[in-house]
Amino acid sequence: MQTLSAARVNELRLKANDVRQGIIRSLVAAGSGHSAGPLDMADVFTALYGYLLRHDPANPEWTERDRLLLSCGHIAPVRYSAMANFGYFPVEELLTLRKFGSRLQGHPERVRLPAVETTSGPLGEGLAQGVGMALGAKMDHKDFHVWVVTSDAEHQCGLHWEAVMTGAKFALGNLTAIIDRNFIQIDGSTEEVMPLEPLADKYRAFNWEVLECDGNDMAAFIETAERALEVKNKPQVIVAKTLAGKGVSFMEGDYTWHGKPPNAQQADEALHELQAERERILAGA
C-alpha cells in the first residue's frame, strides 16, 4: 500500500474539480443528460483513474490493465470527463457528448470507445459482466483487478443479485463493486420508490466483504478501496455514500437533477461555484 500524502490528496481533489467542471461543460453543450450522479461520483472516478487503477491511457487495450466497468451507464459524463482529464482523449472532445458521430454516446459503447470496457445503460448488468471478466482472469491466472461502479437504484434489478450470488460462489477476490449510494433515483428517494436498506447487510448475507465510506472524501475513499484490495478470498463491495449533485449547491441532494442538464445560466453558476472551490483547495482548505 502506498502512503497517501496530504499533498497527493490535494492534487487529486483538484483533479476531481477539473472532472466536475468537465461534466458541467459537456452537459450544457449536449443539452440533455444526467447531472446529479456524475457530479457525486467525480471523487470516486478521480481516485480510480488517478490512484487506484493499473492502466495506461496511451494504450487503452493493454491486456493486463485493470478493468473498470460503469454499470449505470447514464452517469457516463463523469467517466468521460475523468478519462479526458487523465489523458485518454482531449478535453475538448467532451463537448461532443451525445452528439451525432461522437465517441461519447449518451450511454457508453465499447465498440466506439474501447476503454469503457462494455456497453451499458440498461441497468443491473454491469456487475454480471464484471463477474465474467474476473472469473476469466482467475481461470487464466491473470492478476488484473475488476472494478464495477453501480448505482444504488440498480440494486432493484434481479440480475444484479444473480451477479452478487455468482461472485460469491466463485470467491472472486479480484472483483470490487462500488455503490454510488446517493439515495436518489428518477422517481424520488430510493427508500420511497423501493427500499434498499439494509443494503450492506444484504451483501454480507451474500458472503461479500462489505466496506463503507464517504464517497466524496478523497482520502477516506482511497483508504477504504485499499483495504478492499487486501481481501483476496471473496468479492468486495464499497458502499460509497455520496451527495447527489455534489459540488453544485443548487443541485445537491435534489433528485430532480437526476436526469436533466443545467441550462447556460445554471452552468455558469455551477462553474463559478466549482472555480471558487478550486481556489479553496489551492489555498489549502
Binding site: 478493468r67 462494455t118 440498461p122 448488468e125 463477474v131 465474467g132 471478466m133 476469466g136 444473480e162 451477479a163
Partner: protein
Amino acid sequence: MRSVEGRPDAAAEAMHLVDYRAGDLKQVPTRNGMGEGLIEAGSRDRNVLGICADLSESTRFEGFKKAHPDQYIEIGVSEQMLVAMAGGLAAVGKIPWIASYAMFNPGRSWEQVRTIMALNETNVKIAGAHAGVSVGPDGATHQAIEDIAIMRVIPHMMVVVPCDAVQTKKAVLALSQAWGPTYLRFGRDKSPVFTTEQTPFTIGKAQTFREGGDVAIVACGILVYNGLIAADQLAREDGIEARVVNNHTIKPMDEDAIVDAARACGAIVTVEEHQKQGGMGSRVAEILAATHPAPIEFVGVDDRFGQSGDPAELIEYYGMGVDAIKAATRRAYARKRATG
C-alpha cells in the same frame, strides 16, 4: 414438369445424404449433436467454455462437463446472468457457449442478448435447446416458437437452425470458429438423421437436398425431413417435382439461393417449427418481395401457443406434418399456374 437439371436424387447424392426414404433411419435428437460438437470444440480450443443454468443434462452439456471440467461453469437458474457473465468472459478472450432452453435464453434474456452480445459485439454463443412444439409433454411454457423472430432482428447476430444431429455437430464446430454473437437453435426429441459426415456445411450457404423445377420447399431444422418426404409423395401422387432447400442459416440468409429457387421454380413453400410470423419464412418473403416476387405459402404455427402432447401429434396438430406441407405445396403450385 418443367426442365430440371438432373434427376431429383442427384442433389441428394451430391450432398451425400443417406436414403431418406428408407424406413430404418437412425433417430437422434439434435441436442446430441450439440453435446458432441461442444466436446470436440473444447478440445480444439481451450478457450471454448460451456456454461449452464441448471440444465446440463437435458441441453447435453454434461459430456462437456466430464470431458473438460476446467472449461465448464455452472451458475444455476439465472438466464440473464448466463448472457451477461458470458459477455464478460468473452471480453477477456473466452468463447463461451451458454446453454438453456430457448424459451429462457434468449426468451427471458433478450435485452441482455441485444445489448451485451450484439451491440457490444462479444463472441458469445447461445445454445438454444428445446425449441419448437416438439418439446412435447412440457407444454406451451417450454416450447419456444418465437425465438427465430426475436433473434433475427438483432444486428450482428448469426442464427443457425440445423436439420439433424450430424449437422448440429458441424454447426457447433463451425460457429465456435466463426467470430461473433451467435444463436444456434435445436430440439429435444429424436429426429431422423439423413445427412452424413461427408455432407458439406458452411454457415450462410443453403443446401439443395432435392432437385425439382415446379415449386421450391425451403425448410429449416428437423422439418427439412418432412419437406423431403412431402416432395417425394407429391412427385408420385401429383407429378409435381419440388426442389427442397435446407435453409439452415436464417441470418445471414443465403439470398442467392432463395432468389435462385424463386426464379427456377416460380413458387415457394417455407417450412419451420416456429410461428409463421417473423421467422425464417418471413425473411424469405422479405428477400423475394424486394427481388423476385413469387407466390409463397408458409408452413408453421399460425399465431397460436403450443400445448402438451407427443411431439409427432403436436407437429401434425399445428400444421407442420407431411400432409400439411403437401397441401401448402399444391396451393403454391396452383397459384403459380394461375398467375403464370
